[in-house]
């Protein structure tokens, strides 16, 4: 909703339609008479004398539509400046992410450490969890589907800065930005710098109501939960 109403011809048109429909509803004592006549003429209302129901339902439907059409759809954008002062909204929100098309950059079997490149542009050095089998058979260059545990820290940044522990503004590395928030099912949609989008499920304690599109997200990958090498 970055444009004003006057700059949005569709919105203005919908609003005009809405007002016209509502105006007619209010002005006429029997606004659905026309609808009934049309239905009768076309034969749709002739059978079973269901005009009364059509009249009532039609009136309700038109009213709902009139209200509903008063706005307009806008595509979500992550490249917007969120409201409020620079601050940390929440630190270390645990999530589980499934990374398709991950690449094994290197592996140290003795230290049990693997470096993975994800298609979203992030490189992570992680230790495998107890459920990762056949770790020694993984080779550098393998393409794999990786399931990883991550922790998200969400910030409102001003010029890339956020207050540190001592209150001084410090630069914050941004791995992704919030694109969309769906609190009903606790879904947080992130957009990475390469425009790739990922939907993550967050826990009940995530402060989704304080987040909005454009918030900066710092991602720390903490554990490799599963790795399926794609032959």
């Amino acid at each position: 909703m970055q444009q004003s109403l006057d700059q949005r011809p569709i919105a203005a048109w919908w609003r005009k339609v809405s007002i016209a429909v509502l105006g007619e509803s209010l002005a006429q004592s029997r606004p659905t008479l026309k609808l009934e006549r049309i239905l009768t003429r076309t034969g749709l209302a002739g059978r079973n004398n269901h005009c009364l129901r059509v009249r009532a339902t039609g009136a309700c439907l038109l009213s709902v539509m009139a209200f509903a059409l008063a706005g307009c759809w806008t595509a979500p954008h992550a490249d917007v400046q969120p409201k409020g002062d620079a601050r940390l909204i929440q630190r270390a929100i645990p999530v589980v992410a499934v990374k398709e098309d991950a690449t094994v950059q290197s592996i140290d079997v003795d230290q049990r450490v693997v470096v993975l490149n994800f298609s979203d542009g992030i490189t992570a050095t992680v230790k495998p969890g107890p459920r990762v089998k056949n770790f020694s058979r993984i080779r550098a260059g393998d393409k794999a589907k990786a399931t990883v545990a991550q922790q998200l820290s969400v910030y409102v940044l001003k010029d890339g800065l956020s207050p540190g522990v001592d209150g001084k503004l410090e630069p914050v590395r941004t791995d992704a930005k919030v694109l969309k928030i769906e609190p009903a099912y606790r879904l947080l949609t992130l957009q990475y710098p390469n425009r790739q989008v990922e939907v993550l499920k967050v826990g009940l304690d995530a402060k989704l109501s304080e987040m909005e599109a454009g918030d900066a997200v710092v991602i720390e990958t903490t554990e490799l939960l599963a790795l399926r090498v794609q032959k």
């Binding site: 059978r47 079973n48 709902v64 509903a68 307009c72 759809w73 595509a75 099912y185 879904l187």
Partner: protein, 333 residues
């Protein structure tokens, strides 16, 4: 895509009118002669019933389950409905040209059977059993257009194939004596293949209040049915039916975890107004359904699944009531 199954033992009280065909059959059979007017009435009755049962089986109206009639003393009736299907949108939202409208394709499919058994208890037909079975399968699609984040419209069109058969087991002396004539006029032991065209528009308004989702939807649907072939020249289905579903759904998160998933509850009230052959064939003006559910949230955690849990519905119409309960699951693409 969503799909709901209900495995249930339910009651279905149909009152006096479930057997339109048989109400017509009784005076006809008593005289053992069919006048042209009565034959036309019988044909209309059977044809309405075929379309109605095909819609009942092949479309989304009425959940799957086993329904039993408490009867009006003239017969024992059971209706078995099996359903599998759903509808939903897939792929990411796309902007429609330069307009502030988003859209994505929608697919719909459904298949199901309805088995309708009548065990007659009237003196003339005592012990006779009529078994009518309808199978319907439909597939189609369209698109959903979002005019706002909350309001969307989905015009769709589907095609349905239906196969309906009747088998009559005569045990009464009267029907044994008149079996051939009843078959000849197409009253019993018939089969019919039909096609149905199903255009529909779904209006949906989805509002999120705190974490609760409230969805209002209105879905006028038109059915035009024609015959492909039938076993008797008197069976020639050409008919039109309309359904108007209006639904209010509430989806409430409970904020408590169970087995690592959040518990959700909710339900809906749905009213389906029937017009045309569906109304005549099922002999009800409307079907109301009130549904409740308790489910676990699996969205973004299990492939294609939004929730899994338990649900139950109570149905009532002009002349029947019923209920069903079972597994409630909702799939998404």
């Amino acid at each position: 895509m969503n799909s709901r199954t209900a495995v249930a033992l339910s009651s279905w009280r149909v009152g006096t009118s479930i057997g339109l065909i048989w109400a017509l059959l009784l005076p006809v059979a008593a005289r053992c002669q069919v006048t042209p007017g009565q034959a036309a009435q019988i044909r209309d009755g059977i044809n309405d019933r075929i379309e109605a049962l095909t819609v009942l089986g092949g479309d989304y109206l009425l959940g799957g389950g086993h329904y039993q009639s408490t009867g009006n003393g003239r017969s024992d009736r059971t209706v078995d409905v099996s359903k599998f299907g759903g509808s939903g949108e897939f792929s990411d939202l796309r902007q429609l040209g330069d307009l502030n409208i988003a859209w994505r394709p929608r697919v719909q499919g459904n298949m199901g059977t309805v088995e309708w058994n009548n065990l007659f208890k009237v003196p003339l037909l005592d012990g006779d059993v009529s078994h009518t079975k309808a199978f319907g399968i439909q597939f189609g699609g369209g698109a959903r257009f979002w005019f706002t984040d909350e309001f969307s419209v989905a015009p769709t069109i589907m095609g349905m194939y239906g196969h309906t058969t009747n088998e009559y087991t005569a045990k009464s002396a009267f029907m044994v004596a008149n079996l051939d004539e009843a078959k000849q006029v197409g009253l019993i032991d018939w089969s019919a293949d039909t096609w149905t065209l199903r255009p529909s528009v779904d209006f949906e308004y989805k509002y999120t209040w705190d974490r609760t989702i409230i969805t209002l939807s209105s879905d006028p649907t038109y059915f035009h049915t024609g015959s492909l072939k039938s076993s008797n020249p008197n069976i020639n289905v050409v008919g039109d039916s309309e359904l108007w579903n209006n639904k209010l759904d509430i989806d409430v998160p409970l904020g408590r975890m169970l087995f690592g998933h959040e518990l959700r509850t909710g339900g809906y009230f749905e009213r389906s107004d029937l017009f045309g052959n569906a109304r005549e064939g099922l002999n009800t003006n409307y079907i109301n359904e009130i549904h409740g559910r308790l489910v676990l949230d699996y969205l973004n955690e299990l492939w294609l699944t939004q929730w899994i849990g338990l649900g139950g519905s109570y149905y009532w119409g002009s002349n029947f009531t019923g209920y069903s309960f079972g597994i409630d699951f909702y799939l998404v693409f």
